[in-house]
Amino acid sequence: MKKATAAAIIASSLTSLAAEIPAPVPAESDIAEFMVSNMWVLIGGILVFIMHLGFATVESGLCRAKNCTNILFKNTMTPAIGFLTYAAAGFSLMYPGNSWIADGVFGFNGFGMGIPFTDSVSEAYSYNGKFTYWTDFFFQGMFAATAATIVSGAVAERIKLSAYLIFTVVYVTLVYPVLGSWGWGGGWLSAKMNFHDFAGSTFVHSVGGWAALAGVIMLGPRIGKFVNGKAMAIMGHNIPFAALGVFMLWLGWFGFNAGSALSANPNLISYVCCTTMFGACAGLSGAMLCGMILLRKSDFSMTLNGCLAGLVAITAGADCISPLMAAATGFIGGAAVVPAVLLFDRIKLDDPVGALSVHLVNGIWGTLAVGLFSFNESYTLIGQLTGILSVAAVSFPSALLIFYIIKRTAGLRVSKEEELRGLDIDEHGAEAYHGFQIFTNQ
């Protein structure tokens, strides 16, 4: 919603700039509000940035030491790829303004960045009175790579570096922004279905989650994950690092959600910070309790997943769900992680870090929760379901296709020897923890 509005203003603003219509001189107090809102969105973008550190540490901590450098390498390149391709084409695809090619479904505004830099505040003000073109791009660009990062964890410990990089470039440049345009870019989902996804349970997390599912299917499980039809534990090597990552993601999520207010509206941003926090806290509690019941242990890595699950779940409705229902949404999301992880193990889908249970399952759940719990009654369950299904219908097959093409050409999976020895040695020629004695029999 909010984003769609912004996109429309961008579009008209672009036109007005092109036509060199003199910008109205705003009142000084409007300027001050403009400065505040702009700063908030910028800070939001900076907080989203730090989520990439969170992904890097969660994913590497929950995998084995022998693949640690490889995972970090992927997660460090991902924001770079995301931001650069978003500048080249993604931003234009996601926010086509009036340049729709297929109305509300596919649009494109031209390659590269649109508005030249100007030092004048009043000119920038004419963009939309809340933030500058550059802030807009910065914030949205930070989001772009997040979807790809979700994939990174699910395919870890067996995908070729080159395959991952190619997939990321293609998926982030094409699939992510086009789907995003349906909702945030003012496309059919928001315009016709009143589909509500405040900060991206669907457009970021599900889009990433479906691609992760495609990757897991195309790659197959890691050697040793399923033995005689039973799921084996392949333990993470650095749980403190994974915990650090969850805190970083949690931190960044305040920017992810509250930054999506796209202004510094005091009520909205503070409310969203609260619901976000409720989602995370309840998610932790849900996963802890569910783990105690189902596993008879306080499983830490699952509890950490529960925190992220709660955050993913509250993302769609952070602006329109009451605190109590936000906690409920998070709690259910966190609790759901435990059976979800067990289920994916049961059906032999090997997801080393729980990305499917966190991002896909809860991306869907959070989007549905808007239909169930929102105090804004214009968001219907039907509308939400339409969004979930239509996004799934495009993202999953296209991810499958991209992975398939890579498999047939550049190759998807490392050799058995390389997988056993660890990707760090063969792909990067160096270990992550030189000198540390690490015992392995896998």
Partner: protein, 113 residues
């Protein structure tokens, strides 16, 4: 009594354990080790400087057995460890004069199992 020491590839450990279990050898001690042998190392490159890594990761098994178990143990290790490629490892058999179970103070062949 003998002390059988074997240096093997880490990823074969599980299989070796299973082969030994089949032969009713349940006790052993395992240590991390680095080995230098016929198997060539590999080059690591760190910040542009190459280093030859010729100490490869191995696992060291120590198994104390009575004399009539020596062949079975050796067989079991070979069954689990052999891939046919260099680097499969070595088995050394040492004479052992005494074995004591700390818990009971038992000595000799009875203490081994």
């Amino acid at each position: 009594m003998k002390l059988i020491i074997a240096y093997v590839k880490p990823e074969r450990l599980n299989m070796i354990k299973q082969e030994l279990y089949k032969r009713e050898i349940f006790k052993m001690s395992v240590t991390n080790s680095l080995g230098c042998g016929q198997q060539k190392g590999y080059l690591e490159a760190y910040r542009g400087a190459m280093i030859e890594v010729n100490l490869l990761k191995k696992v060291r098994l120590a198994i104390a057995v009575n004399d009539d178990f020596v062949e079975k143990t050796v067989e079991g290790i070979i069954a689990g460890a052999k891939t046919g490629h260099i680097g499969d490892g070595k088995i050394f058999v040492l004479p052992m004069e005494e074995c004591i179970r700390i818990r009971t103070g038992e000595r000799g062949p009875a203490a081994i199992g």
